[in-house]
Assembly symmetry: C2
Homo-oligomer: 133 residues x 2
Amino acid sequence: MDRIPILRMDDVLLVTIQVDMHDRLAMSLQDDLTAAIQRTSAKGVVIDISALDVVDSFIGRMIANISRMSRILDAHTVVVGMQPAVAITLVELGLSLAGVDTALDVGRGMRLLRSRMAASSLAPQIDTDDDEN
Amino acid sequence: MDRIPILRMDDVLLVTIQVDMHDRLAMSLQDDLTAAIQRTSAKGVVIDISALDVVDSFIGRMIANISRMSRILDAHTVVVGMQPAVAITLVELGLSLAGVDTALDVGRGMRLLRSRMAASSLAPQIDTDDDEN
């Protein structure tokens, strides 16, 4: 297993990170995901990290990067399933994932994505934060 | 990583198998999944095996078992993302996954599940096969 599978759910791509990320795996995920967004015209990306007990600054940066890359390709990113201990670690590391949307589980993440996508299609500059937590 | 994460999308649970399954992991997946169905009252289970290049008779049986267990707990199971080579291997092994619904990707699997769930809620004994491929 040297690639993380990217699942397609209509116009949303779902990535479940289950293994420890090393540099090469993170790079191939960035490549695969941006290629998949382009190929499928996906409008949203959900990244599930519920299997991760530990998130270090490397993974934190990778998530932030993926979110930015997706945004340039006109797709919104939501990170879901973060364990409480991971949130604590991220803040202690000084990584507050600014600009990255989060949700408790995939279902909520999908709803948040839908609202973002709807807001984008109406007026690209409007940012609604009411669904965020 | 000694557990496969189970993602919740409202009333559907999503399992992405990314690692080689050994006996203990398969047993814990069965336990975790049945417990999750009961805890969340899920009506459907999507098992993604797109990351698997090889499926042996052990995994084939495990998938069939999970599907039967879920059915007893009133949840439908759809296996998605099977690679062509895996389908060939399964048939050659004599495992045709009878009674297990399959779909090409998660999006189609979700639609198949919705139609199964709708059919079940109308009349539990009616079986519609029109969405299957």
